[in-house]
Symmetry: C2
Subunit: 287 residues, 2 copies
């Protein structure tokens, strides 16, 4: 019953996303989705997972023998008052009144609540959580900079004319920076695509026209046999991509792996940060 309502709200969210990312209706639908998800999860049992990641503890919701993805203790905070405040800020596009840690936590809680419901009510569905996460993050980015994104670019190149499908592009207007914003629930071995798309944009439009900002939920993987949770990270490969393919301006995580945080301190310095920091440093990204 609740799950049917969740599905209906999700389909409505997709519909609003086609119409634009800045509408009050889209934000309200995100809030509905969070509240229905939280209600579903409230009735479920949870199980502690065996975290192999230093300094992080995880649990999962359970239903009929199925387990949700790993959810991080301390980052997941089902605090109705704070979440309501977050959605009010989202409506206004003004996030200065909330600290960056609380922002990261609110976004994580909203995102992972819906994903956990899909994990438990559908079989092997990776697409729905991915699409939801993309719409949620895209609409947050749009609200923060007050610009709707586009998802493909026209290309004119001598004897060829085509359109390039892309991740989110936010165009701030003539002579201003544009943002190239890939959004992923996790990256694994596919992340090279992000640097490659950035390189195509640099090549087609000229270096420095697009700032690349990758936004990721987490890199956890749960072994269903023994309930252990690991993080899959390939920091040395990221360094090669940053040196030899293109340069991403920022990488933001909701649940930031320590191995990627350390990329702030080695060559080539890749700026990796919790997503909450985005809301407070946006003005610097635009410069």
């Amino acid at each position: 019953m609740s799950f049917e309502r969740l599905r209906e709200r999700y389909n409505t969210l997709k519909k609003y996303s086609f119409e634009g990312y800045l509408s009050a209706e889209l934000t309200d639908t995100l809030k509905d989705i969070y509240e229905i998800s939280a209600g579903i999860l409230y009735d479920l049992d949870s199980v502690e997972l065996n975290s192999q990641i230093q300094g992080k503890e995880y649990f999962a919701f359970e239903k009929g023998g199925k387990k949700s993805r790993a959810i991080r203790h301390g980052l997941y905070k089902n605090d109705q008052k704070k979440i309501s405040k977050f959605f009010r800020s989202m409506h206004g596009g003004f996030f200065a009144g909330i600290g960056s840690e609380e922002l990261t936590s609110a976004v994580y809680t909203i995102a992972i609540s819906f994903c956990a419901c899909i994990d438990l009510f559908k079989i092997r569905d990776q697409k729905t959580p991915g699409t939801f996460f993309e719409i949620f993050i895209g609409s947050l980015f749009a609200r923060r900079i007050n610009k709707a994104p586009i998802k493909s670019l026209e290309i004119l190149n001598l004897d060829m004319s085509t359109s390039l499908p892309t991740d989110f592009i936010f165009d701030l207007g003539a002579n201003k920076i544009k943002f190239h914003v890939p959004v992923k629930t996790s990256t694994r071995e596919r992340v090279i695509q992000v640097w490659a798309h950035q390189r195509v944009l640099d090549g087609v439009y000229g270096w420095g026209r697009f700032n690349g900002i990758l936004i990721v939920m987490s890199e956890t993987k749960t072994d269903s046999k023994n309930n252990s949770v690991i993080e899959i990270c390939l920091p040395d490969q990221w360094r090669l991509y940053q040196m030899f393919i293109s340069q991403m301006q920022r990488v933001y995580y909701l649940d930031l792996p320590d191995k990627y945080r350390k990329l702030n301190d080695v060559f080539p310095k890749i700026k990796v940060a919790p997503f909450g920091e985005f809301f407070h440093e946006t003005d610097n990204l635009i410069k």
Copy 2:
């Protein structure tokens, strides 16, 4: 019963592939796998598919309501004599006695026979056909140039030392060309990875040290509801990758889509050909 034997032979093939790609045992195991697959398929019904691709007709094998992937009429030739001749050539690494069309057809028939069996006997298993195809093509390439491949490269770059996992690398020795050979059953939207990996190699080792050669089975997709077969091709995106990421020397297909064949005639000219041609032009690739 036959399928159990097929599984055992596949596991043996994987074992041999870890030990090296040039052994007589590996070639013999490939031949066993083909013969068992052909025996399984011989007993099955087939159904004509509704091809939406001009000039190409397809069918699928059927078992208990399940259908195999699309198999191209005319290219699939279950001709024991020709397949035996092909494996004798493979043992010697000498393919000059077989025409390029017959080579393409033999490789296609061997590859797709195994893949069709996996489609019918396992559920949603993409990994096994992919691994088999990679080993088969890798061992053919190795036989043709008489060099075993490696699958990772050491990287020393001032303050970093790591190993880069790659697709097949064939190193012909000091002051000779090296080949970077990604192998895929189909490419779709993931193909940008191929150009991106080539760019990392160009960046780390210097431009011109590695010749990139992509080898693909087909780009067909069957709609299970109405049995229609389409090809998913993104030629304009390939052109952007070839202009702005890196340059692949060749792309070979077993079932070559016409949209990619046309890339031979537009800028930037990407040389796309049926895989059989590889065996006769290898000497030119090395120059």
